[in-house]
Subunit: 409 residues, 2 copies
Amino acid sequence: MARIVKKFGGTSVGDVDRIRNVASRVKKAVDEGHEVVVVVSAMSGTTNQLVDFCRSAAPMHDAREYDTVVAAGEQITIGLLSICLQEMEVPARSFLGWQVPIRTNDVHSAARIEKIETEKLEECLKGGRVAVVAGFQGIADDGRITTLGRGGSDTSAVALAAALKADQCDIYTDVDGVYTTDPRIVPKARKLDKITYEEMLEMASLGAKVLQTRSVAMAMTHGVRTQVLSSFEDLPGTLVVGEDEIVEQEVVSGIAYSRGEAKITVVGLEDRPGQVSHLFAPLADQNINVDMIVQSASEDGTSTDVTFTVPEDDLRKAVKVLSDRKDELKYRDLVYTGDVVKVSVVGVGMRSHAGVASKMFDTLAEKGINIQVISTSEIKVSVIIDAEYTELAVRALHTAYGLDAPTDA
Amino acid sequence: MARIVKKFGGTSVGDVDRIRNVASRVKKAVDEGHEVVVVVSAMSGTTNQLVDFCRSAAPMHDAREYDTVVAAGEQITIGLLSICLQEMEVPARSFLGWQVPIRTNDVHSAARIEKIETEKLEECLKGGRVAVVAGFQGIADDGRITTLGRGGSDTSAVALAAALKADQCDIYTDVDGVYTTDPRIVPKARKLDKITYEEMLEMASLGAKVLQTRSVAMAMTHGVRTQVLSSFEDLPGTLVVGEDEIVEQEVVSGIAYSRGEAKITVVGLEDRPGQVSHLFAPLADQNINVDMIVQSASEDGTSTDVTFTVPEDDLRKAVKVLSDRKDELKYRDLVYTGDVVKVSVVGVGMRSHAGVASKMFDTLAEKGINIQVISTSEIKVSVIIDAEYTELAVRALHTAYGLDAPTDA
């Protein structure tokens, strides 16, 4: 018997039939003798509708009231799932964030979980019942409803698994696991049986979009074994675990790419101490997240060019911030494009293997792909290239690192 | 400065524009210096949709989970109304049933309010803010959400007005007050400025449908001055008050009618003691509400005929209950019809005036309308007649009791 937290997202609970399907999945685990806590999101579309209501009520709205409105979505799903479970003779009861309670700070719409009191949930599980918990929501010290921000249900699930010392946290999604790369681009992509938290963090934040970065970080901190699997097929997914659980480490686990990038080059910036921080401070003030940064001296030696990437959605804002400060920052020109993509090679094994980066550069060079920016960390190498080379680059790298699935002979 | 509870139903908050309209109404009262508590229902259609979800999840469902699901409707409205008020620079905050808290018993889906703790609301009002409270919902002792049953928001409003010792409770609806009768039948119907609780109870339970019977009873018990008025026009409505507030009492205040009635006659029932209770006990067991009862001896003196009315929705069930027990009850025949209407003359003034009932019978006789069953109380006389005479009867009675509005000369 194991204790398992299972999380189902909005698509998995999109209508009553799908909620019934979720109930069957839960029943199966209960029949196998497991203790089960289910975390659910709002029915797909519901949250968007509620957010639209708030926006049309007032463009700038009180985050506390916004949270009250949008938290209604999960409230509907937990009741319906409990009803479906009971109809299948699986004893179940629903818990809203405040009923658990899941205590958070008071940063409404982006609250952080501070403490989960587990007494009531333990009592529910000990009574042989399934606990159906609303994801995405909690309660602040003043008794008002908070929400954790978009995708917060993954975080709720992992936090509950940690608090309840669950053996595993299953995150059901519309994909059946984590792949070596995007199967839509590389048909030979393989589903990974296991991946480390660190790799998953790089894959997720680089656009693999399977698990919320925040929930992976939490899983890593608390050592929660997390499985990503399909809510529509009954197959094992990908386990996200600590490095110790992975016996033989692949050098490279996957190739990630992210299209939502934009590149800005500040040309002819006066080369004196502190100038770069003057450049980035106003961007940070505007909450623009600067990712990769490369600085190069210009030919005359008195000025420098700085290239960096920002989320494509923030490009206009970033350009405006810098243009407004042209006189103050003293640069010659601003060159920017949204037509780039970030491609990354990820793997904890590269720590102990030399040559991963150079293989990447060689592979791209062979295909005639120009690398515009490079950034590396312990377990990944990322490059910015022209967007039109995305598929070519990802496919070439996937083959170069031996990730292609064996073809049937 | 007065303290006023204002309640807006589902049609009044049917979309964001209408919620904004409600906010303007509230702002007006705040600008006049009043302390305002607003009670709102779910946006029209929302509750029905949530109820449908529950039904399609399981025909018989846990009332606790049902309550969790449907209570989400009001949660959405209170947040949106608070946002709209804030946008108009009216300080406001929302309160869910459990946040007030509004404590109820644990009869889920039909809970009764037991106690309203007013500290937080008082604090909100003293801070110069509008309290926006979710109608229809409360919290049981075990911390689970309860709902008060359909139309429970009226009850929430009156209960809050009583607990907060409010000067008045305004119930905004899609009609602009209580009329002497249905204006769709009698164009000369007049809007009443005032009506007593007792009369309103008779009017409501007889099908006037303006205010929930339960909320009127509560207003009467706690002496809450309650006004019924339009949420779309800015006009005074009808005040529902104690008899002492009405200086000169009309003998008859209104003519009510109710179409949802059915008549059953048990013919040739054996005439012996206890037989009538044997007849009604199984109906009560099935929760069938028997209303008017008339018993008459049959010609041979050894048997009796009993005629009574039930809600038309329960006619089939009632007939089945009695048919199943034909041998046991020993009657000759069962005659029934749903094609009847109950017409009532209501007025507290009739207590001190003789001749109200006979004027009714005379008026109906003059029009050739046959009275099938009669029932009287201190402040009303009701008759059952063929449904096809409804309009004729109501119009004739409205004129006979001098209720017609003066026509423009």
